[in-house]
Amino acid sequence: DQAVSDTELQEMSTEGSKYINKEIKNALKGVKQIKTLIEQTNEERKSLLSNLEEAKKKKEDALYDTKDSEMKLKASQGVCNDTMMALWEECKPCLKQTCMKFYARVCRSGSGLVGHQLEEFLNQSSPFYFWMNGDRIDSLLENDRQQTHALDVMQDSFNRASSIMDELFQDRFFTREPQDTYHYSPFSLFQRRPFFYPKSRIAR
């Protein structure tokens, strides 16, 4: 076993450093590839968002028409009040019984309080609600609320992540070409110009 001289240790360190440097370069290449993929996904996301806005507009128009027709119908509901009320009085007990059975079988929790609440609810409800498909309208409105909320949450998430990524890629990384003390600079892979922002931003 021969002793290893300081010079040899230094030469070994230089060789080893080259390898580490190569790996850092590879990692940076990987970052660049992932960044490109993120940008592609972002383009697709933008296009989807525009489709969503278009669909939202159409949906809102249809919801407006629905609510408008509902209001007009409500205004004229008195014309067959008697017939409707008679049927409603017969419908209520059946609805209550069916619902209580369902609740006890499927929801598996105390039905005492629910029974009382249901009775009050049915007494306050109107048969016109059925006649006008009120449940479908309510369901649409509830979906609309949930969809809006879901999109808001996603947009919020994306905006936060995207502002961090913008800062990361522009100010700290891609805009700078370092004059590293080590002579195997891995950073020449990247252009000096920021990736996301146009030239004018740098000029400013």
């Binding site: 972002n42 989807l48 669909a55 249809a62």
Partner: protein, 220 residues
């Protein structure tokens, strides 16, 4: 803004990469935390029976409206739907028809919106998984940057090289090499004696193994 003349100042490894890990992590968290909190189930029109039942139970508990979904099971309730008031008010037929039409259109667009929203959510998940990938592939560089406090020009510094004759802990047929990656704790790697110190492969193997060990530790 932090450094006034970035292009004319030397920038070391530490300055460059140290913030990377934290930022990617933050970005990934910003995506994930919220995405998993979306209280929305796709698709809405034909939910699985269990989901549907859960929703109805919730609606019944909340304000009893869920019970109205059972109207189809009661004959008298169904009769209400077919009441014809047109003899008293002919305009009602048209109004009802208009309501049904707009309901159908609104339901169609709600469904379309749902499909688009679902695709949008998938895109979000894709972005989130790309951030995760970015974190996995690159955070080791950033973590390594945390160790670069000294002015040492070497990324890897070999401190000792020994074999069984000089160190009884070294297995027969191996060369023990102790290295430091930047200012890390010493990392010991064993290289088969078949790869001699003069072989260019020697240091490549040492560096590869040291980096593997470093990355492994970092993952743990």
């Amino acid at each position: 803004n932090i450094i006034p003349f970035p292009r004319f100042q030397p920038l070391n490894f530490h300055d460059m990469f140290q913030p990377f890990f934290d930022m990617i992590h933050q970005a990934q968290q910003a995506m994930d935390v919220n995405l998993h909190r979306i209280p929305y189930h796709f698709p809405i029109e034909f939910p699985e029976e269990d989901n549907q039942n859960r929703t109805v139970c919730k609606e019944i508990r909340h304000n009893s409206t869920g019970c109205l979904k059972m109207k189809d099971q009661c004959e008298k309730c169904q009769e209400i739907l077919s009441v014809d008031c047109s003899s008293n008010n002919p305009a009602q037929v048209q109004l009802r028809q208009e309501l049904n039409n707009s309901l159908q259109i609104a339901e169609k667009f709600t469904k379309l919106y749902d499909e688009l929203l679902q695709s949008y959510q998938e895109k979000m998940f894709n972005t989130s998984s790309l951030l995760k990938q970015l974190n996995e592939q690159f955070s080791w560089v950033s973590q390594l940057a945390n160790l670069t406090q000294s002015e040492d020009p070497f990324y890897l510094q070999v401190t000792t090289v020994g074999s069984q004759t000089s160190d009884s802990n070294v297995p027969v047929g191996f060369t023990k090499v102790v290295v430091k990656l930047f200012d890390s704790d010493p990392i010991t790697v064993m290289i088969p004696e078949a790869v001699s110190r003069n072989n260019p492969k020697f240091m490549e193997t040492v560096a590869e193994k040291a980096l593997q060990e470093y990355r492994q530790k970092h993952r743990e």
